[in-house]
């Protein structure tokens, strides 16, 4: 029962990761690719970790061995660190791309280019 739930979570995670990779291959410019990368792979990895945590909880109830508690806690810490650094990293990439002069290619409005560049 709990194993089935874990497998369903892992399946959803792999599906979202695959969609993210298709997104970075299909989208037209850097910023839209960053949308696909940041959101979808982070979300997919959260689901993968959820599956592993469910599996570890099931094993912890069955065998009462504390190494599965360690597995669950370390997985959660890894995913929190991943989500935090991924969001900030994609912001850094987007800012660097805009400063290096790459404008969003299909674009209906761009308020940032209207601001005069400081520094």
């Amino acid at each position: 029962m709990i194993t089935t739930a874990a497998m369903i979570c892992i399946g959803i995670g792999v599906l979202f990761n695959a969609l993210g990779v298709i997104g970075i291959l299909r989208f037209p410019d850097v910023y839209t690719r960053l949308h696909a990368e940041t959101k979808m792979t982070t979300f997919g990895t959260i689901f993968l970790a959820l599956g592993v945590v469910l599996y570890a909880g099931g094993m912890l109830m069955n065998t009462n061995d504390t190494q599965y508690l360690t597995l669950a806690i370390h997985t959660v810490i890894a995913v929190i660190a991943l989500a935090f650094t991924n969001a900030t990293g994609s912001h850094a990439i987007a800012r660097a791309a805009h400063r290096s002069g790459q404008l969003p290619d299909p674009s209906v409005v761009n308020r940032l280019s209207e601001v005069k560049r400081r520094d």
Binding site: T38, K39, L69, R95, V108, N110
Partner: protein, 175 residues
């Protein structure tokens, strides 16, 4: 002094989380507790000026931390799920109308701006590109710009989200 205490307690909590399940005093063994305390004090000395740069112990309040955990599990996760399904449909069909708009936030602290910017990056079809240091406004890249937003000079942060009032949550947590 208060900065040192806050940093040490945060580092010690993370160390205890990492070594949970090692012994019999609740979950930890004796040597883990002692050595962890020594290491946390070293980390506190080394990084207290950096971790609490402003010097106000506002985030040490446990109610705020609890609110942050609740915020990460319920509103942020639901918005993330909605945004992901939205972007997934766009990946398959391929119709995008991107653009960069200016968003007024009204956040007063750096931490509030950080949480809001990261929430915007993770949630609904948006991506923080740059930040105006003087006024604190964010420049946000939208994957699909609706017509009524396109003509406006700048918009409020609340209009970006659909189910929850995320800026109010963050103002409650960080200010």
């Amino acid at each position: 002094m208060i900065r040192f205490l806050v940093t040490t307690i945060a580092a010690y909590a993370v160390y205890l989380l990492l070594t949970a399940g090692s012994g019999s005093i609740i979950l930890w063994s004796e040597s883990e507790l002692i050595i962890g305390l020594c290491l946390a004090i070293i980390v506190g000395i080394a990084s207290s000026r950096i971790f609490c740069r402003t010097g106000s112990p506002r985030m040490a309040n446990p109610i705020r931390l609890l609110l942050l955990a609740v915020y990460a599990v319920i509103p942020l996760f639901i918005e993330m799920a909605r945004a992901n399904i939205d972007v997934a449909v766009r990946v398959i069909t391929g119709n995008v109308r991107p653009g960069i708009v200016r968003v007024r936030t009204g956040m007063k602290t750096d931490l509030g701006q950080l949480i809001l910017a990261n929430s915007i990056t993770l949630t609904p079809g948006t991506l923080t590109v740059d930040i105006d240091d003087a006024s604190g406004d964010l420049f946000v890249h939208l994957i699909n710009v609706p017509d009524d937003i396109r003509t406006k000079k700048s918009i409020e942060a609340r209009e970006l989200f659909s189910f929850f009032n995320i800026p109010a949550w963050i103002r409650r947590i960080a200010e």
